[in-house]
Amino acid sequence: MTQPIAKILVPFKSVPDPYEAAAPGGTGATAKSVINPFDEIAIEEALRIRERGEASEIVGLTIGAPAVDEQVRAALAMGVDRAIRIDDARALDPYAVARILRTVVEKEAPQMVLMGKQAVDDDSNQVGQMLAGLLGWPQATFVSRIEFLEDRICARCTRETDAGLEVVDITLPAVITTDLRLNEPRYVSLPGLMKARKKPIEVLTCAQLGVQVEPQTTTISTARPPKRSAGTRVESVEELVAKLKEEAKVL
């Protein structure tokens, strides 16, 4: 048996709760924050890899204001060994996030970065790929299955693409981004939450990391999209077919 992977780094973002928004009639805007669902899946996968004895340490990492410590605690309660928060309250763009993450990766030297494919608030789907590019590491994006090969020199990843499933082998160290079907994250237990209160959160600043980044995108406004109005209720299949033929002219 060879050594397990020494360290997996899991960057995660705090986002407005999408499950509340997903509820019937939900509008997308909620006050409650949670760990980005894709990142929760990344944390869960890292934990499972460690629990199988294939990794030793899981380090969680987030960039945000002190308020996101609640999600950092949730990550620790799930079972992350230790956590780092980069204290930065600015509205960062994905490339700025990727550049900050890069400095932490260089400092922590993990063998693997496991993270969400997309933050469900900005829906960018960029940071993981950018980070891999900056590091010059292989990447596997939109992953729904991970398996280690050749004494963990290499990870075999199944990717969800527009054309169906694709399998690639990537040499570690590498960046992997998760898709929804990789796993179902565990619930945080109360004892887990209690224990997490005692775990320290390392807080660092960009200045301490020696990284200076300015976001290059500015949001000048946000607005609700034009609402599609509800149409007609039809009473029968015959009426529906008649409408589709004569009114909508799509049949």
Partner: protein, 321 residues
């Protein structure tokens, strides 16, 4: 040859992905000339088929080392082509292919990127870009401080480009395979043969949700209606998670975005993550047994009832229509 905009064109070896041509429409809105970029192996015919869209140059990166779209290699070749063309904008159409390679290329080029742009506008003398955020529940208007930038655009928001008789020069890029990154290896791809149209290009899409229960029912009802109407099949996350449909059928925030003439939603509640993918459909039909299902707030025609009874009736009625 230099160009103001460089457009990444996507193909599946057999043909050009039509939605990827819509990035040409976006480039025309940005202004200035544009070049196209095609990567792969054995591309002569595909490159020829791109003549007639008014591109100044069609850059072709044709090499056995590029036979499969491995992100590390592709991003490097794309970044090199961008530098060579001296373009200021690199544009692709939103797809898993461009979302995989373009952010990586952006990082190699040290430029910011915007995903899923749906409109390009002028704001106080400079360009702004509109894009959906939070599962399409909001639209953000964004500006970039960098002249060099990477964009992916939503195909449905820009439309197919009109042809343009201007001559395009085909230029083969020299690929030094030995200098390409070598940390990724392609193993396999699921090959599913289907006579149905591509979900993102179809005129009619039939979507199925959780209550379709099993694959047999899903194929019989959703598939039956799709076959009759020459449509594509889509599904909700719930339907994909429970194995009723493969992952690439998923429509929504984290799946595909569609814009057909007709979308028929069968047993779909209408969560915002699903609605994010269907908003641009011209006509939406919903069949759901719950009269209060949110999908009805967006449906052009809503029919309340049990799909297990109604869909066979609908198939019959369409067949006789």
């Amino acid at each position: 040859m230099p160009a103001k905009n460089l457009i990444l064109i996507e193909h599946d070896r057999r043909q050009i992905k039509r939605p990827s041509l819509h990035a040409i429409t976006a480039a025309r809105q940005l202004g200035g000339d544009y070049a196209l970029l095609l990567l792969g192996q054995g591309l002569d015919e595909l490159a020829q088929s791109l003549v007639g869209y008014g591109a100044s140059t069609i850059f072709v990166a044709d090499d056995p080392a590029l036979a499969e779209p491995l992100a590390d290699r592709y991003a490097k070749v794309i970044a090199d082509a961008f530098r060579k063309s001296a373009a200021s904008a690199l544009i692709g159409t939103s797809s898993t292919f461009s979302k995989d390679v373009l952010p990586r290329a952006a990082a190699l080029l040290d430029v910011p990127m915007l995903t899923d742009v749906i409109a390009i506008e002028e704001y106080e003398g400079s360009l702004s870009y509109r894009r959906p955020i939070s599962a399409g529940s909001m639209l953000a208007t964004v500006q970039l401080s960098s002249e060099r930038r990477v964009l992916t655009i939503r195909a449905a928001a820009f439309g197919a480009p009109a042809s343009d008789p201007a001559v395009s020069l085909v230029e083969k890029l020299t690929i030094d395979a030995a200098s390409l990154p070598n940390g990724m290896k392609f193993i396999s791809r699921e090959e599913r043969v289907s006579d149905r149209p591509d979900l993102t290009e179809a005129r009619v899409v039939i979507g199925g949700g959780r209550p379709l229960k099993d694959k047999e029912t899903f194929d019989r009802l959703v598939g039956g209606l799709a076959d009759l109407l020459g449509g594509a099949i889509g599904a909700t996350r719930a339907a994909v998670d429970t194995g009723l449909a493969p992952n690439d059928f998923q429509i929504g925030q984290t799946g595909k975005v569609i814009a057909p003439e007709l979308y028929i939603a069968l047993g779909i509640s209408g969560a915002i993550q699903h609605l994010a993918g269907i908003k641009d459909s011209r006509v939406i039909v919903a069949i759901n047994k719950d009269p209060d299902a949110p999908i009805f707030q967006m449906a052009t025609y809503g029919l309340v009832g049990d799909l297990h009874q109604l869909v066979p009736q609908l198939i019959e009625a369409v067949r006789n229509a």
